[in-house]
Symmetry: C2
Subunit: 77 residues, 2 copies
Amino acid sequence: PEPAGARALHAIKVIGAEPPHAVAPSAPLDEVLVEMANRRVDAALVLEGARLVGILTSVDACRLLGQRLAAARRRPA
Amino acid sequence: PEPAGARALHAIKVIGAEPPHAVAPSAPLDEVLVEMANRRVDAALVLEGARLVGILTSVDACRLLGQRLAAARRRPA
């Protein structure tokens, strides 16, 4: 039988993983988010040179937007 | 050979699709977004009774948050 690792790699290939979207730590958050939406990707990798220093996901965007809208609702302009 | 339709259904089963997260049109957007983040789902189906009237996705959340942050950056409080 195929080893588990080989199966996992095969599965990722089938799903068609794209090259990750990478941004610098200095990238403006608003531009990163709009670019994620335009590319329809779920995550942006924050790279300092070749070092991974963070991951921004669409789950983060849902939570942050939800929190901001909730705050705006409690305290209308 | 297996018909294409059967293969597609099989693939969806393998990936492990969960029951969709459904909300009413009257649901507050902030609560829907936080709940999407808590459940780590990418979409909420907007159902009016049994009728699908909309889909809110995490891509929408990325775009909307990006636009709001960009507007706030142009016009600081």
